[in-house]
C-alpha cells in the first residue's frame, strides 16, 4: 500500500537558521530518507523549491491563465514529499512521526489511489 507523506513546513523558519543548524536540519531529512530506503520502503522523495518559485496554470473560458505564486497562500507550505510503500496506515503514521517535518511543521499522510 502506497502513501504520500507530504511535509508542510514554514520556509521562514529554515531561512532564519544559522548555516550550521540548517545543515543539521538537512542531514536529519537525509537520514530519514535513508532509513526508509534501507528498509526498502521508499518509492521516491524530493524536496520542493519554496512557493516563491511556484507558478499556477488554469484554463478558464478557453484561455490559459498563468499566475505567479502557489495555489493557496499559507504559513506552512508543501516543502517536500516521501512516497512510501508500507503495510498499512499504522506503519505509514509511525514513519510520518519520524519525519523531521512532524517536529517543526506537519506531515499529511495521503493514501495513493489504487488503480
Amino acid at each position: 500500500m502506497q502513501y504520500m507523506l507530504l511535509a508542510y513546513t514554514d520556509p521562514k523558519g529554515f531561512a532564519a537558521m544559522k548555516p550550521d543548524d540548517a545543515q543539521k536540519a538537512m542531514a536529519a531529512y537525509a537520514a530519514f530518507g535513508e532509513a526508509l530506503r534501507k528498509d526498502g520502503l521508499l518509492v521516491s522523495s524530493n524536496r520542493l523549491r519554496p512557493t516563491a518559485d511556484s507558478t499556477t496554470v488554469r484554463i478558464a473560458d478557453g484561455k490559459t491563465r498563468v499566475l505567479n505564486g502557489p495555489y493557496a497562500e499559507t504559513k506552512e507550505e508543501l516543502g517536500g514529499y516521501f512516497l512510501i510503500d508500507v503495510r498499512d496506515l499504522d506503519a505509514a503514521l509511525s514513519w510520518a512521526a519520524r519525519c523531521p517535518a512532524a517536529s517543526h511543521g506537519v506531515v499529511e499522510v495521503r493514501p495513493v489511489w489504487a488503480m
Binding site: 500500500m1 503495510r87 498499512d88 496506515l89 499504522d90 503514521l93 499522510v109 493514501p111 488503480m115
Partner: protein
Amino acid sequence: MDIGEGDGRARETAESVARRSYGKLVAFLAARTRDVAGAEDALSEAFASALAHWPANGVPDNPEAWLLTAARRKSIDTARKRRRGEDASDHMKLMADELASANDNEIPDDRLALMFTCAHPAIDAAIRAPLILQTVLGFDAATIASAFLVAPSSMSQRLVRAKTKIREAHIPFRVPERADLRERLDAVLEAIYAAYSEGWSDPAGADLRRRNLAEEAIWLGRLVVSLLPDEPEALGLIALMLHAEARREARRNALGDFVPLSEQDPSRWNTAMIEEAEQSLHRASTMHAIGRYQLEAAVQSAHAVRRLTGRTDWVAIERLYEALWNITQSPVVAINRAVAIAETMGATAGLSALDEFVTDSRLAGYQPYWATRAELLARAGNVSEADAAFERAIGLESDSAIRRFLQKRRANLA
C-alpha cells in the same frame, strides 16, 4: 407469504444468531477484506437468503457457519468487482484462502480488533462511538442518529465516509501493540462510554431505544474486559456503568418525577449490579494503575455506600474529584468537586470553589453548573441570586422531568 411454523422457527433462529453473532461475523469478514461496508452488505444478504432457504430446507446444524459461508461468497464477489488490474487475481486468491482458512466451528473473534479500527485516531472522534454501535452491534443509522441527536441522513453519510476511509487508507484490523495499547484503548473506552451516556440520559425512563443503548454499551464493556482482562481502566469503566445502571429505576418516583441522587431510596438500587461493580473496581485497584474511569467509579462507589451506612462518604468523594481534576482539568469535574466541598465544609466554601469557574465560557450554557450554583446559593441563604440561577438552569434544560424538578426547587426558595 404464508408464515407457517417452519418459517417462524427459521426466522427465530436467524434472529437469535443475528443478535448473538452479528458483530463477530462482521468483524471476521471485515478483518480479512478491510471492507466494513462490504461485510455488512454481505451479511445482510446472507440473512435474507437464510430466511428464504431455512423454512424450506430446515435450519442447518450450525447456522452461524452457514451464514458465514454465504456471506463469504458474497464478499469475494464484491471485492472482485472493486479490484481491477494486474494484481487482482493474486489478491483475490489470497483473500479467498484467508476467508476459507477459518474453521467453521470456531470462528475467530475479531470484534476487539474491529473496535480498535473504529476508534482509530485517524477516524473522526465524534463518529467512533456510532461506528462501533453499527458494526459490532448492528444498530441502523437511523437509530444511532436519534440517540445522538443528529439528522439520520448526515449520520449515515458520516458512517459511510468513515468506512470508506478504513478501506481506502488501509486502517489495520488489529489490537495495537503494548506501547500503543493504553492510548488506543482510551479511545475505545471513550466510545463505549459515549454510547452509555446517550443511553443513560433518559430520566423519564420512557425511551426504550436509549435504555437499550445503555445495556448494549455495558455488553461492549464486558466484551472488552473479557478480551483484555488485565486492563484496569476497562474494569473501571464497567464498574462506572454498572453503578449508574444500578440506580436507573431510583431516578424517578411513582409519578415519573426526577429524583436526584441524594434523595434516592437506596433500597431501589440494584444490589447485584452494585456488587459486580464493586468487584470489578476492586480487581482494577490490584493492578495499581489509577485512571479516569476507576476514579469516577470510585465516586459512584462512595455514593453507593449509603445503602449500607445510611451516609454518603463525602470526604472520599471530595478527594476523588480532586484527583480527577488533576487528570482531566474538566470544568464538569470542578462542579462536582464544588458540590463535595459544600457537603464537607459548607455551602459558602462550595460556592467559592465554583466561583473560580464563573468566567469559564464552556459553563455559560451548561445546565448542571447553574443548577448547582442555585442549590448552593439557596443553602447559603442568598435567595435572589439563587432564584436567578434557577431560572437560567431551567431555561437550559431540555428534559421536561428535570425541568419540573428545577421549577419545584425554585418555587420552594421563598
